[in-house]
């Protein structure tokens, strides 16, 4: 029996491990499928991490190293190149690696910190051929930053998520020509500063309300047809335009990687594709916690670390038998607020709720009401956008006696 097993040694897993350690848990094991700790941060060699958490601007590997050193210092155990194959509802983990073969571990508590993956091209049903030269931005990032290879020289990027923007700059610096970044929505999902320093700095056009409608080329990609889309996001045929290119990078969304959560019978949210959790980041499966991008996709790694601390601390309390659920208050959202994390409150205390809005809103009020329609919290925002996670803190006395909470956006 291992007290705490953490699935994933990226920023979430390491931060959760350290937090659990700080709460007195010593028997911790991190299982990491890659050949080093750090997760996706290892290939995110650009800077912009850690301002919130460490007060300095770090690159991905530097941010990871901070946590790697914390893990080392505490002698927290970890296994690399280890792939978890299955987790049962009663916390038996099956994993495999070269040295141990396929093995089972029983855990008192489990923290799910598997991160997310990119939505592939296939999911988009783009018409045309299937040549080489089409990659997700993250795959291209792995080739360029970790392996030292160029996936191509003439690039079109579909989707303006941050990885896509970062790769536009990265490919440009390595000598490629990025012809355009097409974004289906009328706004970018990426951070404004990345549009500035990754696109504008290099005069790369950002084509909003545009998509790729056709792939050309038999063996290697030869070009793409792009088109403007109407309000219902359907391509307008007369706006079609051919761009000759040998590479198409996709940055069209991230999906929490919850296959293992499913084997553990963890309830998942249709909206976040991550687990449904309470304020302690505990899932409906007792003793199984989730944090980081496997729970919901975050904008900043700093917030991942923070969330993982909650999960690590709660898992420690669970192991020590001090985590007691006292209430059961679901948090509901109105659609304009797309989702919240947590989705449940099970303990009466001050609770920070994170959420995302479904569209771009100006001058709105964020209202939290109870089941009787009474306002328990309200806050004004001049602007709320889907690309930026919002948070509010609801005080313990406001939760008391509530049966349900609703988060609404008042325009």
């Amino acid at each position: 029996m291992t007290e705490l097993v953490i699935i994933g040694g990226g920023p979430a897993g390491m931060s959760a491990a350290v937090a659990a350690y700080e709460r007195g848990i010593r028997d911790i094991l991190i299982l990491e499928r890659d050949s080093s700790l750090g997760g996706i941060l290892q290939q995110c060699i650009h800077n912009g991490f850690g301002l919130h958490k460490f007060g300095e601007e770090l690159t991905g590997p530097e941010y990871a190293l901070k946590y790697i050193n914390m893990v080392f210092k505490r002698h927290i155990r970890y296994k690399l190149n280890t792939m978890v194959l299955d987790i049962t509802n009663n916390k038996v983990i099956t994993a495999t690696n070269e040295t141990d073969g396929i093995f089972k571990i029983e855990a008192k508590a489990v923290i799910l910190a598997m991160g997310c993956r990119e939505r592939p091209k296939g999911a988009l049903n783009i018409a045309g051929t299937r040549p080489s030269g089409i990659y997700t931005a993250g795959t291209a990032q792995k080739f360029v930053n970790m392996k030292g290879y160029m996936p191509g020289k003439n690039v079109v990027i579909l989707g303006s998520g941050d990885i896509g923007l970062i790769m536009a700059r990265r490919m440009t610096l390595e000598g490629a020509k990025v012809h355009a970044v097409c974004e289906l929505m009328p706004y970018s999902g990426g951070l404004p500063r990345n549009i500035e320093q990754c696109l504008n700095d290099f005069n790369i056009p950002l084509k909003l309300s545009h998509t790729v409608t056709k792939i050309h080329g038999k063996e290697r990609l030869e070009g793409v047809t792009i088109a403007r889309v109407d309000e219902s996001r359907n391509p307008i045929p007369e706006t079609e335009e051919y761009i000759s290119c040998d590479t198409l990078l996709l940055s069209v969304g991230l999906i929490p990687e919850n296959e293992l959560s499913k084997t553990a019978k963890v309830e998942l949210s249709h909206i976040t594709s991550g687990a449904v959790v309470d304020q302690d980041r505990q899932t409906n499966a007792e003793g199984i916690f989730a944090c980081g991008n496997v729970l919901h996709v975050h904008d900043l790694v700093d917030f991942v670390s923070e969330e993982a601390e909650i999960a690590g601390k709660s898992a420690a309390e669970y192991i020590n038998g001090t985590l007691k659920k006292t209430v059961n208050i679901p948090i509901k959202t109105d659609g304009k607020v797309r989702y919240s994390v947590p989705q449940m409150i099970t303990r009466e205390k001050d609770i920070t709720v994170y959420f995302r809005v479904a569209d771009v809103f100006h001058n709105v009020k964020i209202n939290v009401k109870n089941e009787n329609g009474e306002l328990v919290f309200s806050k004004r925002r001049t602007k709320a956008v889907p690309g930026e996670m919002e948070s509010i803190t609801i005080k313990e006395d406001k939760i008391k006696n509530a049966k349900e909470l609703y988060i609404e956006l008042e325009e």
């Binding site: 290892q42 060699i45 590997p61 155990r77 970790m146």
Partner: protein, 126 residues
């Protein structure tokens, strides 16, 4: 002359308005912090950028590096050229200075070999 900038100092990405007269910044608004003002002023007079990239190692692999200070924006490609012309012997440790004084900044390793002092794994590299 008025300019509108998107601040790149932090993820907030404030929209900053700058008023410039005779080549001097006379008014900055829209920033949420002093660093934003500093950025806006620099951006109008002598814009700078941090360069993050990789460097080729003697065994053919690559290791991530960065300029430890921002360098003039118009020197970014020249800086890339200098880095790309360099191949470095291993091992490299995070924080090692790889090339000194490139447009006023040092090129330092942000990754490399690290030692696991708890003995779980002899040595890893990233």
């Amino acid at each position: 002359m008025k300019r509108n900038l998107t601040c790149i100092v932090c993820p907030m990405g404030c929209s900053i308005d700058v008023n410039i007269e005779n080549g001097e910044v006379i008014d900055i608004s829209g920033n949420s912090c002093p660093r934003g003002a500093e950025y806006a002023k620099n951006e109008c007079i002598s814009p700078v950028r941090t360069v993050t990239t990789t460097i080729r190692c003697s065994d053919g692999s690559v290791i991530p590096v960065k300029t430890d200070m921002p360098i003039p924006k118009d020197k970014v490609f020249e800086c890339m050229k200098i880095i790309n012309h360099t191949s470095i012997p291993l091992p490299v440790y995070p924080g090692d200075v790889i090339i000194k004084d490139v447009f006023g900044s040092n090129i330092v390793a942000t990754g490399g070999t690290y030692n696991d002092n708890c003995g779980c794994k002899k040595q890893g590299r990233f």
